[in-house]
Symmetry: C2
Subunit: 444 residues, 2 copies
């Protein structure tokens, strides 16, 4: 497509280009725009019909939005802002440098400016900050005929009108009506009679993660948002929730790999930013590894007399670490999805203990066969290794499962108790067991 557009631009076929763009989805248009040169970007953007221009604009990366805002006239800015959904406008204003923000606000109506300011006050990650104000509201004292007239009157572009929300004379949320119920009811039916009063809603200050959990639990497509006085102020739609769920998951992945989460896509994050997000945890973990070092130093006469013992330290540590992080990952994920609660901690530990028994037994036996028969290692050394492995795996499983629950109980994010931290802790146990057994079995 991009080739065709470049060709039409170079041949000056502006009318053809304009017609061609008519039939492309705004998301795809935004992708095409980002591939054009700065000059062609502005030129092509101006050829778009107003509503499509605004929607394509909302999908552009920040840098391209700025390029456009800087180059177009004030009245063009005004047109885009009027067409944009309020939540998209706010997202975009939040990230702009102040000179561009000024140009935008100068071209926005007083009414919309007030709304934008109100939105900017909602805390980040709150329901208020992700809601949209483009929804259908009906008064409970209307009848069906009034309601349909009111819907016809409301000029909405895209957000969901399937569900209309019903408010009383103080704007308090009373419930919802599906558009279908409206259409199939007779004109004089009262709205309050059709209202489903038993709906799931949230408040502007609620955490977005909790809102996402409600969407999942109740299979919702949209949800009403009320203020402190129970007045309806906005709605949240499932497409925005999908974005939030993916962001929260990305954050968990990053925390579980011992990184400070970052919001930008990988390729757009600067090197120093990436380094900063990683080095803190690496330092913490590196310094806590001092403990394992001092254990080995304490037992150095054991290694000196049976050097072969050193050869099995990496295997023992890695297997312990891997066993522990399997358990930690399952429990962290279970806590995030609500499958596991803090009160389940005994159930979880007991389960992991039994899983640990089975897994540890299999690993120890396989290891015995390999080390004793294939590598012809001394029988007492082999036993030291295999019995250490057995206990290390069980301890790793139980520790890995309980630490995330303790973190949650202490109001930390369970995700920090993932692989890296578990590994460091399990290493300590593994080495103490290993060297103590070696002393006993090998009589050092």
């Amino acid at each position: 497509m991009i080739k065709k557009i470049n060709q039409m631009i170079s041949q000056g076929q502006m009318i053809q280009l304009s017609e061609y763009l008519q039939n492309i989805n705004p998301v795809d248009i935004s992708k095409l725009l980002m591939e054009l040169s700065s000059k062609d970007l502005i030129l092509t953007f101006r050829l778009l019909p107003k509503d499509k221009a605004a929607e394509a604009f909302s999908y552009l990366d920040k840098e391209y939005q700025m390029k456009i805002i800087e180059k177009i006239t004030d009245s063009e800015v005004e047109e885009i802002i009027e067409q944009l959904f309020l939540d998209d406008t706010v997202d975009f204003i939040e990230e702009l440098p102040s000179n561009v923000v000024k140009k935008v606000l100068r071209n926005t109506s007083q009414e919309k400016r007030n709304l934008i300011n109100q939105f900017l006050k909602y805390e980040q990650y709150s329901a208020g900050s992700i809601m949209t104000i483009e929804f259908v509201e009906l008064k409970e004292n209307m009848n069906v005929k009034d309601a349909i007239a009111s819907i016809r009157h409301t000029k909405l572009d895209k957000e969901i009108i399937e569900t209309c929300f019903v408010i009383d004379k103080n704007r308090k949320l009373k419930g919802s009506i599906s558009l279908q119920d409206l259409i199939v009811s007779s004109d004089d039916t009262s709205i309050s009679k059709l209202t489903d009063t038993n709906i799931v809603f949230t408040t502007t200050t609620e955490d977005q993660e909790k809102v996402a959990t409600l969407f999942k639990e109740y299979d919702l497509i949209c949800m009403a948002v009320v203020d402190k006085e129970d007045r309806l102020v906005g709605i949240i739609t499932a497409d925005d929730i999908i974005d939030i769920i993916e962001k929260e998951n990305t954050e968990d992945f990053q925390k579980m790999a011992a990184m400070k989460p970052s919001e930008e896509p990988y390729l757009k994050t600067p090197v120093l930013e990436l380094a900063k997000h990683r080095v803190i945890w690496l330092l913490v973990l590196m310094i806590s590894a001092t403990i394992t070092g001092s254990i080995i130093k304490k037992f150095d006469e054991v290694i000196q007399s049976v050097v072969i013992l050193a050869a099995f330290i990496p295997m023992l540590m890695d297997t312990g670490g891997n066993s522990g992080s399997q358990s930690a990952t399952l429990v962290i994920r279970g806590l995030a999805l609500g499958d596991i609660q803090i009160k389940d901690y005994l159930k979880v530990m007991w389960k992991e203990f039994r899983v640990g028994l089975v897994v540890a037994f299999v690993l120890a036996v396989v290891n015995f066969l390999r080390i004793y028969f294939l590598e012809s290692t001394d029988i007492m050394v082999t036993l030291t290794i295999c019995i250490s492995l057995f206990f290390t795996v069980i301890i790793a499983k139980v520790t890995g499962s309980i630490l995330p629950i303790i973190a949650k109980k202490l109001k930390f994010d369970p995700a920090i108790m993932a692989s890296p931290l578990i590994t460091t802790i399990v290493d300590t146990f593994a080495l103490i067991i290993y060297f103590s057994l070696a002393r006993v079995f090998l009589g050092i």
Copy 2:
């Protein structure tokens, strides 16, 4: 709530209970039902209004669904099945033992049975298997008046009617119309004129993960599904996509912690099943750790002469492993979200090399200060440790970033190239560098 229900049951207040249940959301009713005894479960379920009974039923766990189906009469089964959405019916039939399936199918109309059979043929994880057939379709030769009449006629319960899909006389998908456009247009406007022909749709055989990607990319609330002949056969809604996204993420978390993914929630998975999913990868990783063992054996004279070197092996290995898994996690997540493509491999490696330089430098310096000044270790030993650390971290970063991309290129799931595998690979590099440097610096 459960206390109140138990009280009403024990006091025989059935009418009050029935009224009380009227005002509870079906999702919450299903949770309450699962807390009741088998006897009270059936009793309470029978008190529910038909439509609520069917919806609450669809949210019950499999074992409770079976309990109910086994106990209620054939005509009651029939009522539930008629009220259930087809996709919920299919989900539920797929998981039942055959004697219960027979009872269900015996009480299902021929027409619905045919539909169910057709659905069961769609491959698991395909768009066909997750779609619903409850949607509004309009013919392109209708006018607005016919269309609204047809919507009034279609008896839909809950799924989305905001978007109506337009088909031609051969049932081929032509596009979509929003219900709002219909309501605000005059009665004699032709449907084909209002149809937006430029919509995103999918086919029954498409992978559900690809469908989820389209939802994210185009911010969709619902999407049409067509068969091989482009005929409209169903729609997929955003609430189902949310479930799929969470499942895919859970799978990635499990694979990245070296486990075979499992579908059941943690607390409901039997111990042996959990053990089976974990032991395979642990065995593979344990046996590949033989390599690190043989490296240490090869250099045993180095350890024998300077035993203190052994004390820093865990720190070196853990820091290398953690550095590598940070990079691997970011790249795996970037690939999953589409932020990183296979063709970006040089960009990614170059970025990780530079991040590695910064991080490695900081870690090496801090380590030097700690080991040389605080622990008063010999200067040549300290240098051996710090320089090894420096190179290990850089190699770990680059390896961790490139292996997931190679996996994707070879059509494996990049998620397997996470922490555990990276750790095992990085260990090998770390030890070779460490002992080689020790030989040179310490003249062993």
